[in-house]
Symmetry: C2
Subunit: 370 residues, 2 copies
Amino acid sequence: MKEIESLWDEVRELSLGTSSTTIDHLPSPPSPLHFLRNYVSPNKPCIISNAITHWPALFLWPNVSYLSHSLCHSSVSLHLTPHGRADSLVPSTPTHDSLCFASANVQRVPFPRALDCVLNSQPGKFVAYLQQQNDCFRTEYSAALGSDCDAHIGWATEALGCLPEAVNLWIGNHFSETSFHKDHYENLYAVVSGKKHFLLLPPTDVHRLYIRNYPAAQYSYSEEDGEFKLEMEDPVRYVPWCSVNPYPSPEAKESEMAKFPLYFDGPKPFECTVNAGEVLYLPSMWFHHVRQSSDDEGCTIAINYWYDMQFDIKYAYFNFLQSIHYRSTLTQPKREKYSGSHVSNCNLIDKSCTDSSAVDVVDSNQDEDK
Amino acid sequence: MKEIESLWDEVRELSLGTSSTTIDHLPSPPSPLHFLRNYVSPNKPCIISNAITHWPALFLWPNVSYLSHSLCHSSVSLHLTPHGRADSLVPSTPTHDSLCFASANVQRVPFPRALDCVLNSQPGKFVAYLQQQNDCFRTEYSAALGSDCDAHIGWATEALGCLPEAVNLWIGNHFSETSFHKDHYENLYAVVSGKKHFLLLPPTDVHRLYIRNYPAAQYSYSEEDGEFKLEMEDPVRYVPWCSVNPYPSPEAKESEMAKFPLYFDGPKPFECTVNAGEVLYLPSMWFHHVRQSSDDEGCTIAINYWYDMQFDIKYAYFNFLQSIHYRSTLTQPKREKYSGSHVSNCNLIDKSCTDSSAVDVVDSNQDEDK
C-alpha cells in the first residue's frame, strides 16, 4: 500500500533525515525555545550531552554499597521474570504456539535484598529489575536519593510548561530488555550508569509493528522451589501490543521475518545508545525497544521524566492513520506470484486487527512485484 | 466515510474546542514559549490584542491623504478584477458552465492613482486591490512607510527562530474577497484599518473543500473601453483550487449545497473578525476565506508576515490524508435511499479528483442513513 509507505519515507525525508539511522546529538542542553521548536513540536528525538553533569548521582549511584546504605530502610518494587522480558509476548504454555502478554511478578522488598536479586540475576533461573512505572522515584526513592539528582529537567519543564507527571527509576542489568511499545508522554530519559540501547520508530510506522490483541497473563514466583508459573488472567483481558521482536533468535529469524515483512523489509529503525551522563528526548507516541549494558558493578541505572503530552492535531492524525488497515487485496489466483508466508501473513493482519471499525485501504498495486 | 469524519471531530474535540466556532483571543502578546507551545506546535489559530498598539501606522494609515503624500513618488502593484474576486473560480465564458481559476489584471501604477482606483471601485465596472503576495511591503512600501510599523512581530520571530520570509501589504475595501485556500507559511496577520472576516478550516478538513484542477486564466483590462476580458492561458495550465464558495448567491445556494455536502453539512468553519489593532495567528496549512469591512475613509488596510513553516510530521500526515480519496461505494440500486444530487456528487468527486495515484477508501457504512 504505497501511500502508507510514502508516509514512512516522507517523515524521514522531511524531518528526521534519511542519510543515516542516527538521531541528533546536542553537545549541551538546548534552550527551552530551541528544544520546543526543533524537537517537541516536530516530534523528533535527540540525545543531549552535558545536561546532568552536575548531578551527584553520576558518581554516587554506580557505587552499589552507596545505594544499599542510603536505602537500607526502604522497600521498593521488584520485577521478577524468568528471562528478563516483562510486558512482553511469550508462549502461553510451554507446549503451545499461541502468545500472551506477560507481566512480571511484582514484589515489594527491602532495597538491599532487591539489589542483590538484580546482581544475582541469571536467565532461566530469574531476572530481577528494580522498576515501576508509577512515579516510583518520587514515591520509593526520593526521600533517600532526591538530593542526588534534579527533581525535573529544567529546560524541558520550561519548554513543556509543566512539571513531570511521573519520575521513574530503573535499576537493572543487561539481562532485561523492553519490547517495542509507545507511551503517551514526552519522555526525558537520563542514563546514570551503564548504557541503554534504543531502537526507535516514528508513530507514522504504526502498521510496521503489527499491533494485535494478546491475552494478558502474570508471572507468579515461588521462592521455595524457585519456579515461575505463567497464569492467564481470568476473566480474559486483551492487551493490544506490538508483535515484532527486532532481535529474534537464529532459529526463529526466518519465520519472524516472513511474519513481519513491513518491519524487517521496511526502513531501518533509528538506533541510538545513551551513555551514562546523557539524556534521550524520546518524543510522545514513538515506538521504542530498549536493551542495556551493565556498568563495572553489574548494573544499568537510569531515571526518566514523563511529561504530559499535548493531544493535538498530531495525535488526531495518528489515530486516523491507525484506523486504516494496511491490507493486501490479493485474490487467490494472484497469490502464486508471492512467497506463501508473506501473503498469508498480510491477510492475517486484517483478521487479527483489533479495531473492527477501521477503514479498509485497498492496495491496487499489490499485484506488482516490489 | 466515518474515519475521516472522526478525524474532523477529533481535531475539534482535542485541540480546537467544540463548544463554539470561535478561536482563542489573547488580551496581550504571548511570550515566545507560550505562543510556540500553545499555538504553533499544535497548529491552532488565535487572535492577539494589544500587539501593535505602539505602531504609528494605526493612526497614520487610516488617513488616505497621509498615504498618498508619503507614497506620492512610489509605484505599486494594483490588482484589477471586474467583481473583486481574484485567484478565484469564475465561469470560463459568459455562456459556459465550466469554471476556471482567474487571476487579476496586475499593473504597476503610481500609488496616488492606485489608491483612487481602490476608493472608486464599483463591482461590474472594476474593483481595485493594492496587494502582491511577493513581499510587496518591503519592496514597494517600506522606504516610505517602514517606520510606521515593525519590520517583524518580535515574539513570533523569537518563537519561530527566523525573520519573516515575506511581508505583504493589503489595501482594499469591502468589495474584494479572497476565496478558500491555504498557504505553506506561518502567518501573522495584522489589521491596521477596517476589519477582516475570516472563515477558517483546519488542514484535516481538506476533503471538505473539494480541491480540483481548474484551467488558469488571466484578466486583461482595457482602460479605453473599461472592459475586462478573461483569457485562458495557452498552453493550458491547471491549478488545484478549493471548489467551495461559502457564500453562494441565493439563486446558486441550493445547487452549491448539493454539490459540496461535506462542506455545507459538516462542522461549521471557525469564524473570526480581526479588528484594527488586532493580529491573527493563522497557522500553516489552514484553509481560509477572507472578506473585509471598510473604515470611514472606505479602505481596509492590513499587513501580514509570512514565516517559514516546518515541513515536519504534521505536513507528512497532511499529505497522506490528502492522498486518500473520500468516496462513496454506493452501487446503483442503493442510490434510491439518497437524494440524487448528494449521491451523484459524491461520485463526481472521485472522477474529478486530481491525484490519480491516491488511495481509494471504501466506505462500508454508506448504505446506512446518517
